[in-house]
Amino acid sequence: MSFEPKILGIACNWCTYTGADLAGTTRLHYPQNLRVVRVMCSSRINPSFIFRAFQLGADGVLVGGCHPGDCHYNTGNLYARRRLAVTKKILEFAGLEPERFRVEWISASEGNKFAEVVTEFTARIKELGPQQKLKIDELLEKI
């Protein structure tokens, strides 16, 4: 059977998560590979969450927040933008495909954008294939 990637989503409560709900209420279909964690603000996302997600076997990680300037907490996503940018560079230099980590600003009114992003991202991850690098394959791994 074809490769069904596991994609972890982390969405801010006020914009992207609501946007995702909107995608639902408007019955927009998109691939089911995404599993969303809800946080209050994209700025809550600790870079280590991203590393951990990949270690847990995520083939891709999608972070969603309010558009810069619309953050429910005013400036949260402006910090997040910088921090996550650095996270991406680190993953890239470590040798992971940077496309596996994506940050999108999706407002509460952009249900369609949410659906599009997920569809597109899932497709991209399928092309990339399974993420084996950071994934913890065996807990009892020897030194």
């Binding site: 590393f51 650095v86 680190i90 470590a94 040798g95």
Partner: protein, 287 residues
């Protein structure tokens, strides 16, 4: 070439003055270790101590990390080479120490050596600056006319690698890690105690020295030092298994400089880039 003896003498002279003038109870400098080649960081607390002070091409320790050890000292004098001074600037930016509480004895030096390899310490493994960016007294001549090589030049080779090769490289390197944590302890910017990796709520990674934990520890540490690492190379020199951590730190520093237009520890008035933002930051940086 730097006249180390001359710097040692002026270091002694200034230390003596300061300690006599009682306003400064501690002078952070270097003393002889178990042999010439292995000097040690040293805290001179009395005029008598001054005689123990040495300075030679192996005094490559970043003294900034010792500043916070004397919370109740009114004022601290610290011998600071280029990298040390940048570290100090970051500490001041982060309010770990107040500028007015420091007497920075700037040292312009080139030709420092790594005792392990006896190789020159230059822009390949460090920021490669010769002169301190911040000081009260400059010991020795400011070094001019030395050809400045970009500290990021060494990265070219690794940036050129394809992802798989680079992953293989870092995996093999980081798998060597025995988690002695010398890197973080040697780092003047790593002053957290406990460190996130020591936390058991949450346990970010297991304690055992194996891939997943090592990855989590190092990647996160690279992130914590983003925009703060002043590229002194101490982490790599401290590492008993020779992991070239400086490469990764350099890369992150380079990216930060390109994205946010600011190098760490160059200006007192700067704010560390990751606790700062500009509304006009471009979304391109996320692409």
């Amino acid at each position: 070439m730097t006249d180390f003896k001359q710097i040692e003498n002026s270091l002694k002279r200034e230390a003596k003055k300061l300690l006599e003038s009682a306003e400064v109870p501690v002078v952070l400098a270097y003393a002889r270790g178990y042999d010439e080649k292995h000097p040690m960081p040293f805290a001179a607390k009395s005029v008598a101590d001054v005689e123990k002070i040495v300075f030679n091409e192996y005094c490559n320790f970043n003294m900034a990390r010792y500043i916070m050890r004397f919370p109740d000292a009114a004022k601290i004098a610290v011998a600071a080479k280029a990298a040390d001074s940048r570290a100090i600037v970051v500490l001041i930016q982060e309010e770990k120490v107040r500028r007015e509480d420091l007497v920075i004895l700037g040292i312009s030096a080139s030709g420092m050596k790594d005792p392990k390899t006896d190789q020159l310490i230059d822009s390949r493994t460090t920021g490669g600056l010769y002169n301190p960016v911040e000081y009260d007294i400059l010991l020795g001549e400011e070094i001019r006319g030395q050809k400045i090589v970009s500290p990021y030049e060494v990265l070219a080779e690794y940036e050129a690698m394809d992802k798989e090769a680079r992953w293989a490289f870092w995996k093999s390197q980081l798998d060597k890690c025995i988690r002695c944590y010398a890197c973080r302890k040697a780092c003047p910017m790593c002053y957290c105690d406990p460190c996130f990796i020591d936390q058991n709520k949450p346990r970010w990674a297991d304690k055992a020295p194996q891939s997943p934990g090592n990855m989590m520890y190092h990647l996160t540490r690279f992130h914590h030092l983003a925009g703060r690492c002043i590229d002194c190379g101490e982490c790599s020199r401290a590492c008993p298994v020779d992991i070239p951590l400086y490469l990764f730190h350099k890369k992150v520093a380079k990216e930060c400089e390109e994205m946010f237009g600011q190098a760490a520890g160059m200006k007192l008035e700067d704010k560390p880039v990751l606790v700062d933002f500009r509304v006009e930051d471009s979304d391109q940086i996320l692409k």
